[in-house]
Symmetry: D2
Subunit: 480 residues, 4 copies
């Protein structure tokens, strides 16, 4: 298992084609705009080596019997799913942001069972292929970008009906030794600092969409893969000197998302896990999405713990910590965060064994969890902004604070309670600004799928007919 530092070195050896702000990025590890995201991902490696957390950060591979980083592990019990959640919360607490590696983890777990199911029904050989790949990942402790979301173009049209057929990733050529694919995956968290990319279809599909029902893995620096790194709130503050204004200088803001373009990329046969079996696309989406939605009550609760702590500190620094309304708002933040956590724990415990032998979270509860995230993270952010006060939106820059003439005046007037340096108060304000700004919120909304996707799944899983019969019986309607 790699350490965080070894992970960084391994990234330096890759030759990805990454663009940001109109320029090719030399090194994702060393570019100031990308470095924080690399640091967050590196925390997933360090966690496995920390004696305090190795029980969370590692697991015993069911293939090799060796301890592997949990992010490469296939869940084989409810307890392992619960540990995943606790690992995510611990990492959220340490980084205060997204550490990106769960998407690949979830892709592995989804494909593990779906390749098994396809083989069982079609006599294909995907599962054995996949196991080889999984061994490779576990042995080399690689980080994977699980890539699902297509650009989708006109959302009212299916893949095959788009004006531009490339708006969903698809097979453009089938060769004896593999396939050539074209298209893109949008919003790819951690893609630029992953070793591998696993592509999966983005939606249930019909017979007309067979070329779009494709799943495979590729090294992230495969020729033809182009990454365009997206903008985040306050991204260019990272190009400035100093660290105060960044809020969370070391770990950044959410995951660092990129548009990943597949510009006629060749995929060798050994890395293809689905190739035209359109009727399994929906199952793969549902598996991946449910695993991924499970996460959000783990990582986001860890992140919320940090935000609660920042508000406690801000209140201390400003002399409002004892105000009953402040205490009440902090209570509410904790309450909302723990509600999210409960969801992730519960969907893990209520998991069930699949035919392939691994465990699948309860999809109803996993979707319930994520849907709450799309509300509560916003409300937690709102409460944090309330407690913090207006200064998170108006504080002068670090450069003003360091200015020989006005720096002392800024410090004098940014002072809170006596004894706490004004810079501390500013730093906490910047952390809250970082954690409650646009990008951080939007990720809570759309990461792991938009709210409506969760609602559709909740309704589908709700077993309304059973509930209806319960009601009819109690209402005394005899013939039902």
């Amino acid at each position: 298992m790699m350490t965080g530092e070894q992970y960084r070195d391994s990234l330096r050896r890759l030759k990805l084609e990454v663009y940001y702000l109109g320029e090719r990025v030399d090194s994702v590890v060393d570019h100031p705009a990308l470095r924080p995201h690399v640091n967050s991902a590196a925390a997933t490696y360090d966690l496995a080596h920390d004696p305090e957390t190795e029980d969370l950060g590692t697991a015993k591979s069911h293939l090799s019997g060796e301890r592997v980083n949990r992010f490469t592990h296939i869940h084989h019990s409810p307890d392992e799913l619960v540990k995943k959640v606790k690992m995510l919360r611990a990492l959220g607490q340490r980084t205060g942001t997204c550490f990106q590696r769960c998407v690949g983890h979830d892709a592995l777990n989804a494909l593990f069972s779906v390749t098994y199911d396809v083989d069982a029904q079609r006599g294909t050989g995907y599962h054995a292929r996949f196991l080889e790949y999984l061994k490779y990942i576990q042995q080399n402790d690689l980080m994977i970008d699980g890539a699902m979301t297509d650009p989708k173009g006109d959302r009212s049209l299916s893949p095959g009906k788009q004006a531009d057929p490339d708006l969903y990733l698809h097979i453009v050529e089938r060769r004896p030794d593999g396939i050539v694919v074209r298209g893109a995956k949008a919003h790819q968290t951690g893609a630029v600092n992953s070793h591998e990319i696993i592509a999966m279809p983005t939606a249930a599909m019909g017979p007309d969409d067979a070329d779009y029902a494709v799943s495979f893995a590729l090294p992230s620096d495969t020729p033809g893969l182009i990454y365009v790194f997206g903008r985040q709130s306050n991204d260019v503050r990272r190009l400035e000197e100093g660290d105060v204004d960044l809020g969370n200088a070391r770990f950044g803001i959410v995951g660092g998302e990129a548009l990943v373009i597949f510009d006629d990329v060749f995929v060798p046969a050994a890395r293809i896990f689905m190739c035209g079996e359109y009727d399994f696309a929906g199952s793969l989406v549902e598996r991946f999405a449910s695993y991924h939605r499970q996460n959000y009550g783990g990582c986001k609760t860890g992140v919320a713990d940090v935000l609660v702590g920042a508000c406690v500190a801000a209140a201390d620094f400003q002399g409002t910590a004892k105000a009953s309304h402040v205490r009440d708002k902090i209570t509410e933040m904790v309450h909302l965060a723990e509600t999210l956590y409960c969801g992730s724990i519960a969907c893990s415990l209520e998991s069930r064994r699949l035919a392939a032998g691994n465990y699948f979270v309860d999809p109803l509860l996993a979707n319930t969890t994520k849907l709450n995230v799309t509300r509560f993270i916003y409300e937690i952010g709102r409460l944090a902004q309330d407690i913090a006060g207006g200064y998170i939106a108006t504080t002068p820059s670090e450069r003003d604070l360091r200015h020989p003439k006005i720096g002392p005046l800024v410090a004098k007037y940014m002072q809170g309670v006596a004894g706490v340096p004004a810079e501390h108060r500013i730093r906490i304000g910047r952390l809250i600004e970082n954690m409650t700004g646009g990008t951080a919120l939007a990720e809570a909304m759309h990461g792991a799928g938009s709210p409506q996707a969760q609602r559709v799944m909740i309704l589908r899983q709700a077993n309304l007919e059973h509930k209806r019969r319960l009601a009819l019986r109690l209402a005394g309607i005899a013939d039902q």
Copy 2:
């Protein structure tokens, strides 16, 4: 283990002094106003004999090794706490209301550990006494009212400062063979159809309140115990002919609460479990309350399942089932209900072993769960009233429906979609009315303690200092 029918018979043998609407009640089993509550409690007995649910409804006693009704069992693992939650949900689905027996169950589990703790610190002998009592309960499969809430008089004053000292239950005489107590317990769910009453103090207490720090058990028909059964929404409809207007004629509305008056009642020494150890009162309250708050994401979710089903039926009967806003509201109801369920599951899984050997739910998560109940049950009710339509507030009575002249007109104009009898539509409307009316909601608010009690516990359990340190580290505040 008794069946529901045996339970009813056992109640007939008791001689409780119960009043309702200014009159002494002859038989709680046979009085139309009380019968539905008895039926609900009886469901806890029948569940244990139903092959489909016996795994939930029974458990293996850690004392005798025999199978006992789970409502008399001491939880010895997280899994047993999870099973409790599933049992409660199953019963909520079957009764559509409160089945009352959890209060006694929670009292047993709380006293099991607190008597142990008191003995450990004080060298008292409460735990052995309590085990004798527990054996008696398990062997006879008795229903217990766990009685905690005192009248409390002026809430701004502690027990000892009340103008009337009896507003908190207290010891008025200490004898060699026992004690005499005076006072009352308010809002006692299921008290009139319980075999036993276990009294517990209602709050943390100080040295001045030693006489109020008292816990004990008594047969429910002990002389001096007087029960005044409270009014519920639409209670007197039960005195009418017919069953339509009741909504849930068989199982009623929530628990059937009584004011239980202890009019100088003698308690023999063998049934005293706390007697003056005021510094353990808080611990007993916290244990009982947390176990009790755990329940609410179980039973209320089961009840919500029924309400969701009633709305599905109402929409079917009225031709609105396909309207997107109706589907969306049903989705929301399911989402909220499952969120509650997640809380109960999570606080069970995150339970920890106490010194006495039994398992205690995570109090932070249990309180989080109950606090959500005080909001979501109201919102679920609001959505149900929205979907149902105005007729839940205006439908003519069953007697009008049966009237020779206007009955056919009422049926004609209460008709929904063709083919479904108007009476079916009315019955579903009455069920929704029953489940969303005043008493049902108020119980979700104040049962197991009012919201502010949960907020106080959440803040106390939140470990803000840990969260604060997480934030300071990420903010780059070095010396923290």
Copy 3:
């Protein structure tokens, strides 16, 4: 203008065919179940004679120049619409419930303009007819039930497609001197204690529905009109002795709704205001509904004022008035109530003059107001139940309180702060129970139309194209 007492006398002279609980009602004024509703309506008469409120309760008729009860007046300025709102709030404060007379008032104002518009386009003579009728109403100070809501049967089908054509009120015969109508109107507030019934269509209609596009007025005791009075929460408590358990013994709970059946009723030509002009049905619905939705931030705010006051009293009586969380909840209740009030004021001020000369509230803001009512009244009720405590759901009956043996015990243990009689505390609890129970809430949801009806109107009125252009311009999208 009549006084409340004269109004009661006038009702005694009518011969309505009213049923309740399967029996014909002799006198709506003197029947204990109906009397409170009559008292509420009577308050609209008394208000006009109270020197303190006559500016609100009366207006100068634009027809006669005489002062008339405002409930018979046609609004001729924004200021008059504002006064209507203030009148409703004052009455809500006095009655704590619905006083029913606005439906007729809104019907008059809607028909005033729609009859004008129909005449203008069709050369019909409805407006002159209507003015004659209006004079009659103003001179005799009559109370009118504005009857819109049809039973609607299968909501997915239009009027003409129902299995039973009578599920929407329609013309079954056209005669030279009038028409014969059949059908029913559901949920008719105040119908049984009105002098007149004005029927209006319930929805926009198409050419196939011409027989359903009918509006007319009838004396409430016209042969063939049958009223079946609906059940409310706790309705039969009114048949008991005593007044405590009713909460608001004098004025009851919301409006007292009836199913009004038109069993082949003849309508003379002079009282027909629409007869087949289906393309104006939508306009009449929109006018009536918007006026009616305007009301809800007036009357419900007055009612909420009472509920806030009840919570203040409850907190006083229990010793919780100084608790910060109680003060905060009261603040929230006030905040929500005033938000509703703002809506009614604003839609009045933003009214515009119609072709007929009267003023029409801003429909976007009126619908916004009512939609908030469907949420905030529930939340206000929830907060009230929170502040009040569990006793609103468990308090023994008045008969227990008066019982020679247990009465003193009940009083002893229902005591709050010293010095306030327990009965006072119980009375306030019963008032809160009354105001937050099922029927009261459901009326806030569905009165003046269900939430989805408001949402449809809001979307239609939102002028999205204008908003879209604003955005495109600021986004720098040149060609838009």
Copy 4:
């Protein structure tokens, strides 16, 4: 009256000492980071010359009888207050952001009446002085920063108890010809592009705080006044080439707030409007704050109109415009925005005449309005992020879009529905990002005072005793 262009020129003639990012700013008009805020303020000048809006943008001065820019006008009727709200909404629609000039306007209106009241009780001559100043402002059409918020240091201590006495602005020297003041005002919207600064105390004060009870006006370029311009979300994107990534390139994000430092500044006697009358400080705060809170249902509703429009466009561009959940969310956004507008209209209409002759908004309703803003703007933003989709957080930069190699690929994969250029979709996404990011939200929370300030005012204005009496009467509690 100046035009926007004349306003810009007038600013160029001022010599303010402004710092931003550690550097002195040469020209606030021409600095790319400040220019958008100047443009927004300029819109208040242009509005007065636009024939379509001159009725809103101008008013007839009660001093001179001439038409003046409404932002310099003293409100002399409810109708004028309503027009203020409509003017603010119109400007919000045009700029999509804060245009800053209301703070000075509100300061004028508050001081107009408070100087009158002080004179009436103390025989001072402030009002006449103030009228001279007002004439000067009206004649020269100047923009004023109304400066209230002190840094406040330790919020648990009053001004006089702070470790550093300068943390509240105060008098350090009294001279025959004027005073010298020291301290600062934080979060000053529009300060760097105002002609004048009016300082006011920030809170009610006691006898010990007399030196802090000071109000005065100064030209913004008075020596000793130092401005440090605060950072906003994505502020440095303005220093980049291109306009796409700014979202609202012309008008920016909220107001552009500065820390204004009074470094021993001399104030001539003629410009002093309060000087030690501590017992009027609270009144001045309440008047200013209430006027200022009135605004938020005007300007923010206008801004929300733009955001709704942006969502409509985004949905069009992505093919989701017909999805029922999207339509429902747009309906909800409109509903929430109109609720805010209702508040501002209502508090204006319910204004009352003060002794000085001007009109004062209803403070209960004005505070209610602003409190809703602190919730609904967040919810509107959340819904906008939901509708927009994840791309607002991940879209590549404009420089990537313009890049010769990857630009076409970015455009290809950012494409929505066929026929709409990808750049249009990106622009709308950036506008939504701009309007829902951190700074924009925080301003809605804390501008015009934090939520708790509104709650305190609401509770104080609620007349609970009146409400209590209403309830007691209806509950039948005779002796109240």
